[in-house]
């Protein structure tokens, strides 16, 4: 009963509810990691849609499975059940060679720490040109021109000189720009950004967020934005999925989620964020008690009930997913 998923044309899918075909659609995704200590059920039934030009944010506390969802969108982790489809084609049905083509050209990813995804011993130009030529039938000169153009587009000054530099010669903010340039160099339809600004200072974060927003508008890229920063979510997202213990517990348009959060977890999360733009209230900050459960040791039923002030007896049973009026919530208070 928890996994009633309607097809792309039904009222179930979030983005499709507004009449556009999704460029990305995730249905009842499950991911388990195999470890020496047994299986870790990191993602336990996640469904969402992304429309072109849309920013869909996944937010939640550390360990809730955000990065695992991100990786599964590029088939970089083994999906144990459910499906991820790009433009109507299931990733799981693709051959290796086809997957390689899809990654980069249709869907690209940027990570939190750009240093780990750039090769330290190769120049930026080398890496950009290789990426471009992997996906586009361009000769070296044309690929180089395209690389310079992309670097310019992401706000790197003097790109013709920068292209000869190595990653360590750049600041963190510049490296993240290079990663964005690389990810967008083949004009993918979808960009997956996993904590793209978490390692950066706020002033540089503001630049990168503005850049992502501009590029989305210009190229029509759909963005899946993964972050634990509620402020970044409010700033960027069209739709938001709130994740807890491997599941989405609530999903809504950004304005609706913030003005009328329904799940007690969402309410607690939003209330515990201190505000830079308001004088603090007297008394203690609102704080959710406890911390998220470990995968594999989730409470029966609603995984949040052990921290929930409104938990009831019925919460020991899995809450049904309530979909309607363009939002979803998975909570016994809302059935």
């Amino acid at each position: 009963m928890t996994n009633e998923i309607s097809d792309h044309t039904g009222q179930g899918g979030a983005a499709t509810g507004r009449g556009r075909a999704p460029v990305l659609s995730v249905r009842d995704l499950h991911v388990r990691y195999r470890t020496d200590d047994g299986d870790v059920p990191a993602v336990n039934g996640v469904s969402f849609d992304l429309a072109a030009r849309e920013t869909y944010a996944i937010v939640g506390e550390s360990g809730c499975g955000k990065s695992t969802v991100a990786l599964s969108l590029l088939a970089l982790v083994p999906v144990s059940a459910g499906e991820v489809s790009l433009g109507g084609r299931n990733l799981a049905s693709m051959r290796r060679s086809e997957l390689r083509r899809v990654r980069g050209r249709e869907i690209a990813m940027i990570f939190q720490e750009p240093m780990t995804s750039l090769n330290p011993v190769l120049t930026l130009g080398h890496q950009l040109v290789e990426t471009i030529r992997l996906h586009q039938p361009l000769d070296r000169g044309a690929a180089r021109r395209r690389a310079i153009e992309m670097l310019e587009r992401v706000g790197i000054s003097d790109p013709a000189r920068r292209i000869g530099q190595y990653p360590h010669e750049l600041s963190g903010g510049m490296r993240q720009r290079v990663m964005i340039a690389m990810a967008l160099s083949c004009n993918p339809r979808i960009l997956v950004a996993d904590e793209p600004t978490t390692a950066l200072d706020v002033t540089v974060q503001a630049q990168i967020l503005a850049l992502l927003d501009d590029l989305r508008a210009e190229f029509g890229t759909g963005i899946v934005l993964i972050t634990h920063d509620i402020g970044v979510v409010a700033e960027m997202a069209d739709r938001i999925g709130v994740m807890y213990a491997g599941r989405l517990v609530e999903e809504a348009a950004a304005a609706d989620l913030f003005s009328d959060p329904r799940h007690p977890y969402t309410r607690g999360l939003l209330a515990s964020v201190p505000r830079v733009d308001l004088a603090p209230r007297d008394g203690p900050l609102v704080a959710l008690p406890g911390s998220p459960p470990t995968p594999g040791r989730l409470p029966q039923g609603c995984a949040f009930r052990t921290r929930c002030a409104q938990a009831m007896d019925v919460c020991a049973k899995p809450p049904p997913e309530l979909r309607g009026a363009d939002r979803m919530v998975r909570c016994w208070l809302h059935v």
Partner: protein
């Protein structure tokens, strides 16, 4: 707090500088210096909380370590409860340091994985029944006395941060330096830890030096705030005065760059600061902020501004202060409901 009265501060830092030799010539003599902290003055009264904010590399941690004399200052003084740490002998310094404890950012590397948390905490505890005191400390930080025999890997990040706080409280300090103590934690756990620290402040009159790059947390937690840029304090004052009417262009830019958790506000377009922080090895002449400052003129390249007192207990270091915009960076929300829906 033997000789601290209301007008002698618990901590006074005067002209404190810290520079590091980053390269040496063939004779081993320093040939290039990095000025990580440059002539910092600050005061902290008993029971008061001072926030230190600024971007990565601006010198916040170096300032903390230099105050504790973990590095000898290159210049300047640190006076703690009337004692000049620079001229105190080793025994006296050790004794003073026990009263100034530090909690660091990373709760994972801060604890020895092979020792029970009880024995880590017991290290700092003196006299009397140490085991009873360890149990009391664990309870004070919201853990249970029975946790003393467990190892760090059995705890979550937030719990480990509580353990680090318990350990820092062992010697009954007067001053707690929190260096990004909540930065690695999720917001829910961050709020728990901040409430815990606020309780300690209330119950024991602890003073805090609260270092953070998270401005919202600083606004929620600190009485006063000092904003650092490339080793220097550019603005300092009572927290609400600074947040409601930031005067230094860097303070304004920093505050306006913080994303607001309220979608309606996102399009109140803020002024983006261009570029990154310049290399501290080759800081700009004059005002160090001038290369990113929208208001800089030629004068700013020639003269280094010093902190000047404004009326409201505030100090700002900016040559162009009189000509700049002021007032809140963010318009006031229309209603409280709009501001805080939950």
């Amino acid at each position: 707090m033997s000789d601290a009265t209301s007008d002698t501060p618990l901590l006074r830092v005067a002209g404190l500088s810290q520079r590091f030799a980053v390269s040496r010539d063939i004779f081993g003599r320093p040939s290039q210096w990095l000025e990580a902290v440059d002539r910092v003055d600050l005061e902290l009264a008993a029971g008061e909380t001072l926030g230190i904010v600024g971007e990565s590399g601006c010198g916040k941690s170096t300032l903390a370590r230099t105050i504790l004399h973990l590095h000898r200052p290159s210049a300047g003084k640190v006076i703690f409860d009337g004692v000049d740490l620079g001229s105190a002998g080793p025994a006296r310094l050790r004794q003073m340091r026990r009263r100034m404890q530090i909690v660091m950012q990373d709760p994972y590397s801060a604890l020895n994985p092979r020792r029970t948390i009880g024995s880590s905490i017991a290290d700092g505890v003196t006299g009397g029944d140490r085991r009873a005191k360890v149990r009391a400390l664990l309870e004070k930080v919201g853990l249970s006395a029975g946790d003393a025999g467990r190892y760090p890997n059995e705890f979550s990040g937030g719990q480990r941060q509580r353990i680090c706080i318990a350990r820092a409280l062992g010697p009954d300090p007067d001053l707690l330096i929190a260096d990004e103590a909540v930065s690695a934690l999720d917001v829910s756990v961050q709020a728990q830890i901040l409430n815990l620290l606020a309780g300690l402040r209330r119950d024991f009159g602890l003073s805090f030096l609260f270092i953070s790059h998270n401005l919202a947390v600083v606004r929620a937690f600190c009485d006063r705030v000092a904003v650092m840029y490339l080793g220097r304090i550019v603005e300092t004052g009572p927290t609400e005065a600074v947040f409601q009417d930031p005067r230094h262009p860097y303070t304004r830019a920093l505050i306006s760059a913080v994303p607001i958790p309220q979608p309606g506000r996102r399009r109140e377009r803020r002024r983006l600061l261009a570029g990154d922080v310049p290399s501290p090895l080759d800081p700009p002449s004059g005002c160090r902020f001038r290369t990113r400052c929208p208001h800089a003129d030629e004068g700013c390249a020639r003269t280094a501004p010093v902190l000047e007192r404004l009326g409201d207990a505030r100090q700002v270091a900016c040559l162009r202060l009189g000509t700049l915009e002021r007032g809140p960076v963010w318009a006031a929300p229309v209603s409280q409901a709009e501001a805080r829906p939950c």
